[in-house]
Symmetry: C2
């Protein structure tokens, strides 16, 4: 059924999810944002989200990782998070530290909301080439402190959370694999979703840097329109590589970008609507953690079975689009 050879014979052997304790409902958020709970629900689809108040990003990641690891240590800690613990060192170090690891290599992949999807591809390449055979891939996101209450649509959308998977080479005789991967980046859309500060462009010591540069900005309608087109092109490319169309996909695990974005995914690309995993009502858009959180929920609920074809798909700041097809 596959035209191209698989990218790598890898298997996701464990998943984990951590949701911070503090639940913030649309009703609680509504007066802060000057909107009604009904407005929040219709625009974002998010009934509840978690805020990591007093919880460290690396501890969230470590909690999800422990669940995914099931007691066996990893050979590599790969962080795939859009938010960072510090500018230096990178976030993987802090997650490794929170797990009590010393001597295990740790580094990060950063592709904004698509960090996890890209991380699967990177981990697959590393396992295929060596030297590591058991890779912990963790997305931990604490975006809530950067939300702008004067931008109610994005402020109502984002939640905090973490999730992790463990990848290993597929044992002989089993079908698990990364079958296909595709990504495109359009820098012309870089300013549509951004936190402009936190780097060399608007350095903290630059007198022209303001609080506004530290806040999350998203032009939702333009991202939605650009994403629609770019996702269609990306899926066409994937079907060409796979030798089948959307009907060959058993489970779709999308980035939980927004309620309307998930609705578009159910309607416009020929994917089976009942196979699209949708957890946005419960957790909101948790940046790069959204895909592995949805993956964990689907696996834990038995919606993904060994041998299923699983599509990971999403858009992210960049503007980037990425999709990966796994045999689970």
């Amino acid at each position: 059924m596959t035209h191209s050879p698989p990218i790598a014979r890898i298997k996701i052997v464990g998943t984990g999810l951590y949701a911070p304790e503090r639940v913030v409902t649309a009703e609680e958020l509504a007066p802060r944002l000057g909107r009604s709970a009904g407005w929040i629900l219709s625009r974002t689809g998010v009934a509840r989200r978690r805020y990591a108040e007093g919880e460290a990003q690396e501890d969230m990641g470590a909690a999800a990782a422990r669940q995914a690891l099931g007691g066996r240590p990893p050979e590599l800690v790969l962080s795939a998070s859009g938010s960072a613990v510090q500018a230096l060192p990178d976030t993987a170090t802090f997650i490794a530290g929170a797990l009590g690891l010393e001597g295990v290599p740790a580094f990060s992949v950063h592709a904004s909301c698509l960090s996890f999807v890209v991380g699967v591809q990177v981990a697959a390449g590393l396992i295929q080439a060596g030297p590591w055979r058991r890779v912990l891939l963790v997305s931990a996101e604490k975006g809530s402190p950067s939300l702008d209450p004067d931008a109610p649509e994005s402020a109502a959308l984002i939640g905090d959370g973490a999730a992790a998977v463990v990848l290993e080479p597929t044992p002989e005789g089993e079908p698990s694999a990364l079958l296909a991967f595709q990504m495109t980046t359009f820098p012309s859309g870089a300013a549509l979703t951004e936190v402009a500060g936190g780097g060399t462009r608007h350095h903290p010591f630059d007198p022209t840097t303001t609080d506004a540069h530290q806040r999350f900005f998203m032009d939702g309608p333009r991202v939605y329109r650009m994403g629609r087109q770019r996702v269609a092109e990306l899926l066409d490319g994937l079907w060409g590589r796979l030798g089948h169309g959307p009907e060959g996909i058993d489970v779709v695990v999308p980035h939980q970008a927004s309620g309307p974005a998930l609705e578009a995914l159910r309607r416009f690309y020929g994917l089976r609507p009942d196979r699209v995993v949708d957890v946005i009502s419960e957790y909101g858009n948790c940046i790069a953690a959204s895909v592995p959180m949805a993956l964990h929920v689907a696996a834990a609920e038995g919606r993904i079975r060994r041998g299923d074809r699983v599509l990971l798909i999403g858009t992210g700041a960049g503007l980037s689009v990425a999709g990966a097809v796994l045999i689970w």
Copy 2:
């Protein structure tokens, strides 16, 4: 001569370097730091460094990339930089944008000063597994705005710069390969080298976050001691995989951590001192760009020839140690 099979048959087909215009000598820096030029030279080994005054990080990366690409576009843009342009999207997007690329995938690898060394391993895995065959790996660093004039040792050490390489599958009949890679991370040393701000731990909106959190901090003597031991262990591991010792290495391209660190590398590990590429006097420590800058200089000067065994080696914030052995 090799015990383990190569990680991947990849070849570095182009290199590039960009140094900002503004040269800052030890003599110019001395009064600002309350030290003499002699003190700066003996402690850091840095006679001159460049500061990117008014130059954007992504433009520096793009300049180095254009030289490495030689007019042929990449299939993937991989940024391997310790400093970021913005918190979101990631730095690779901006480098792709500065190169005028639309639709080429772009993402980042972050492992502090070791980002480039790790990036070679990641790129090798991606080329081996697919789907990309021509990967642009870029390190662009603009750390100068974060330097602390009250910490003269690190302020005298760091410079700005960028470098890039292009990796492709090795043509049939040629020897080029990534032979071995090893990395270890010790989170117990995370606070020895850091920029504590710029993330969720000391968020810009946290009232306890101060200017000090935005500055580069390094406990040079403790990093040096911890690095000495960890590099020795790492090299022993690499020799075990390669089936030869330090005498089998033709060229050593180290992270340009400091003059004393380079001197230790020449003295303590059995490597041939005249084969250690040392550009710290000219450029200083350019964070992740140091390794590819030294690699470019060595290749341009004819010090690396096809078929040579090249060791990339360094320590970085984390504390991490990494080494890669290539057949050039």
